[in-house]
């Protein structure tokens, strides 16, 4: 079936960056988890790295419009997210996989992704096709009609990725997407990321530096709610010296940058 391309889809974008944060502040409870963060993200796959408690999840939640920023400016897809603005247009272009992916255990994978597609205000006619495509892209087609409660941890993660990509989002936010995936699935997942990153902005938060090294084109390193470093994966590997901790060039670059930042802060 051929789909009609709407005017909105072919219109040129009116923003320079898919995600643009200026002096962004976000609270997690009472704690200021993201503090004066400046960030610009364009098309491509960006890896979000940082130690535990760096504010990765809080930043993801702010970008996904779950939490309202406490201060600063945040624009996603050209729409202001800070004030009382109507978030509908922005949200239609978002895909989000939370760190704790909550689901309805009695729904089948297809029903769940369908329900999310409906919540994303996709046109009724395109939903069945889009759901099938999303489920196939994450490799869950053979389990599409199993109930969510019968799935393994890795399959649930993939179902979570399927609901995030069902609307072909312009900004895709994945919080710890590779947890529970076996090595082969991780390879498929990286391939999928690269494919989506060709024309949308993908931000992947992860602990695994090796995932970033292979799947991401750019790296964003944050610590204590602030931007430490941003650059390409190649530049990250150049940062590390022989004396830095880590088994790969990327890991050495990561620890060297973090160490330099801590010395700068404590000085």
């Amino acid at each position: 079936m051929m789909r009609t391309v709407s005017v909105a889809e072919t219109a040129p974008s009116t923003y320079a960056w898919a995600v643009h944060a200026e002096k962004l502040q976000v609270r997690a409870g009472r704690h200021l988890a993201v503090n004066e963060l400046d960030l610009r993200l364009g098309t491509g796959v960006h890896g979000l790295l940082g130690p535990n408690g760096a504010g990765k999840t809080t930043l993801m939640r702010a970008l996904a419009t779950v939490v309202k920023p406490a201060g600063g400016r945040l624009t996603v897809l050209g729409g202001e997210v800070t004030g009382n603005a109507d978030l509908r247009r922005v949200r239609r272009g978002l895909g989000y996989l939370p760190q704790h992916f909550g689901f309805y255990p009695r729904f089948t994978v297809r029903e769940f992704v369908e329900y999310i597609a409906w919540l994303k205000e996709m046109p009724k006619a395109v939903i069945p096709g889009a759901v099938q495509r999303a489920v196939e892209r994450v490799g869950l087609a053979d389990r599409a009609d199993s109930r969510m409660k019968t799935l393994s941890g890795g399959m649930l993660r993939r179902a979570g990725i399927a609901q995030a990509i069902v609307n072909d989002p312009a900004v895709l936010l994945l919080d710890e997407p590779t947890v529970g995936l076996d090595p082969e699935q991780r390879l498929d997942f990286r391939e999928l990321l690269r494919e989506i990153g060709l024309d949308s902005c993908v931000l992947v938060s992860t602990h695994l530096v090796e995932d970033v090294a292979v799947a991401c084109s750019d790296v964003v390193l944050i610590s204590e709610g602030r931007l430490v470093w941003q650059g390409t994966t190649g530049q990250l590997t150049e940062q590390g010296g022989a004396g830095d901790a880590g088994d790969s060039a990327t890991e050495r670059g990561y620890s060297s940058l973090l160490r330099a930042y801590r010395e700068r802060v404590s000085a």
Binding site: V66, L87, F107, Y115, L119
Partner: protein, 267 residues
């Protein structure tokens, strides 16, 4: 264009278009899409090998369609959302109402328990459909374009359609005027939604339940008779309150339809 391409041109097209310029081939192709007579000419012009291949493919597809699985049936009921998790709360509310009816039927001397409990019976499941603790996918729901008051009202309607029949059975069994159990129940539900827009639906439902229990249920059980607010004379008052509160909720939903609802936000 009304003229048809010559049979020679069509047979040249069928054999790969050697010796004819590209624009002529494009014109033939565009014409063939709209002209059945010329397609018939084309069928005779292709060589037997190709014709064989095409019919084999057509047969294969036809058998595939005939023997493969049918299209997936859509489950529309699931659109009410979190049915799975709300069920225990619906059962609790139902059980409570039936117990009250049974109690009232057995002990004639006590004031009507059905009338005393009916107003707060829908509040428990209404709070459950819009709660961060009970909706496992709350974080996803909060990032959707179709979130906010309209979605909450849709889920509330689902709850009411399950609770009101139970109320009707209990009311009919104990012989009370329908207005005395229906209007308070609707009024309290609308009140919970209106108050919930400010403090969150779960808190609003809890506050209303506590206020009703402390202010009306306990004193009337102590007195041994029904309060004035549950007598026939107060019906216009209940009707007015229900209409006014529903109007408040509707106006709010219409003016800020997609404001993320308090209760689903990270506070």
């Amino acid at each position: 264009m009304t003229s048809h391409p010559s049979p020679t041109l069509i047979s040249q097209y069928a054999s790969g278009g050697a010796g004819v310029d590209d624009t002529a081939i494009w014109a033939v192709e565009a014409h063939l899409e709209t002209c059945a007579a010329c397609r018939a000419v084309l069928t005779d012009a292709v060589d037997p090998g190709t014709r064989d291949l095409l019919s084999r493919v057509a047969d294969g597809i036809a058998t595939g369609i005939a023997t493969g699985p049918g299209p997936v049936r859509r489950h529309r009921l699931l659109r009410t959302g979190v049915a799975a998790r709300v069920l225990p709360w619906l059962v609790t509310a139902t059980g409570l109402m039936l117990a009250a009816a049974l109690f009232e039927w057995t002990f004639n001397s006590l004031p009507s328990l059905v009338l005393l409990i009916a107003p707060v019976a829908p509040l428990l499941p209404v709070a459950a459909v819009w709660s961060r603790r009970l909706d496992p996918a709350w974080e996803l729901t909060a990032t959707m374009p179709r979130t906010g008051l309209p979605l909450l009202m849709r889920r509330t309607l689902g709850v009411l359609s399950a609770v009101i029949p139970v109320l009707a059975v209990a009311g009919w069994a104990t012989g009370h005027s329908p207005g005395l159990w229906l209007l308070p129940a609707l009024g309290f539900t609308a009140g919970a939604l209106a108050l919930g827009a400010v403090v969150g639906v779960d808190r609003a439902a809890l506050a209303l339940t506590v206020a009703w229990s402390a202010g009306v249920v306990v004193p009337s059980l102590a007195d041994g008779r029904l309060p004035a607010v549950l007598s026939g004379g107060s019906l216009p008052g209940w009707a007015l309150a229900t209409v006014a509160l529903t109007a408040v909720v509707l106006v709010r939903a219409w003016r800020r339809p997609h404001e993320p609802h308090q209760n689903l936000l990270h506070r």
